[in-house]
């Protein structure tokens, strides 16, 4: 299934993209999605490895199966608000 992943902050800046579309299997876990993002955005590999995936505004665990989900995917690198 094709998934669109929103990108932010350091990853968006390094890639010049505010989103990326990737193909993942329906039973793919969040970790598989992160691994695919790292493969497609090698310049941000170190940052993606410490980022989390969120779907519809909720963080998902790396072992959660998310490939079939229809919500909004976002790659959330470590935050620095405040």
């Amino acid at each position: 299934m094709k998934q669109r992943i929103l990108l932010f902050a350091g990853v968006r800046s390094a890639s010049g993209l505010d989103h990326i579309d990737i193909d993942v299997d329906d039973d793919a876990t969040a970790q598989v999605v992160l691994d695919e993002l790292e493969r497609q955005l090698p310049d941000s590999g170190g940052l993606i490895r410490i980022s989390r995936l969120a779907i519809d505004g909720r963080y998902v665990g790396n072992d959660e199966q998310v490939g079939h989900c229809s919500g909004e995917f976002a790659l959330i690198p470590p935050v620095s608000g405040g």
Binding site: L6, A9, V79, S80, G81
Partner: protein, 151 residues
């Protein structure tokens, strides 16, 4: 969102006077505020001092509001709070101006005193907002702290 919580992302300067009344509750004997203010100097691990020229904040806005509201709900449950206000500024924030303002009201002061650091720690760990430093030599850096080991 009921009137116990007020969550806002803003693009203008944050002025405490504009938000003070939002904590009003005649059954609360305590109100406490915390303002996080943009700072010029950063000490690095190797003892250098970096000088910041300006800061820029970006958010995943809908997720940030949702996470901040959940943070406020959890704080109201964990401490005896009646009201919580959280305002975070986005875009460019010049040095010395507030990037975040947090306030809470409770019947007694100990809950307010305890809640603010807890809420700020949670904001800095969970809420999808990021800052980009522009240093005085015009170099820029997105700030992405290494996640803390949960153990």
């Amino acid at each position: 969102m009921d009137d116990s919580r007020l969550i806002r992302l803003v693009n203008e300067p944050i002025r405490l006077a504009e938000w003070e009344a939002k904590l009003a509750d005649i059954d609360c004997g305590a109100q406490a505020w915390f303002a996080g203010v943009t700072r010029r100097t950063t000490e690095t691990n190797d003892g250098q001092t970096l000088l910041t020229k300006t800061l820029f904040y970006e958010a995943h806005p809908t997720m940030a509001v949702g996470q901040l509201d959940q943070l406020a709900i959890d704080a109201i449950g964990k401490f005896e709070l009646r009201r919580v206000v959280i305002v975070h500024r986005l875009g460019e924030v010049p040095l010395g101006e507030a990037s975040v303002l947090m306030g809470c009201a409770s019947p007694h002061r100990k809950d307010c005193f305890a809640a603010l650091p807890w809420m700020m720690d949670r904001l800095k760990q969970e809420v999808p907002i990021w800052k980009r430093e522009t240093f005085q030599d015009e170099s820029t850096e997105w700030i992405h702290p290494e996640p803390r080991d949960p153990t």
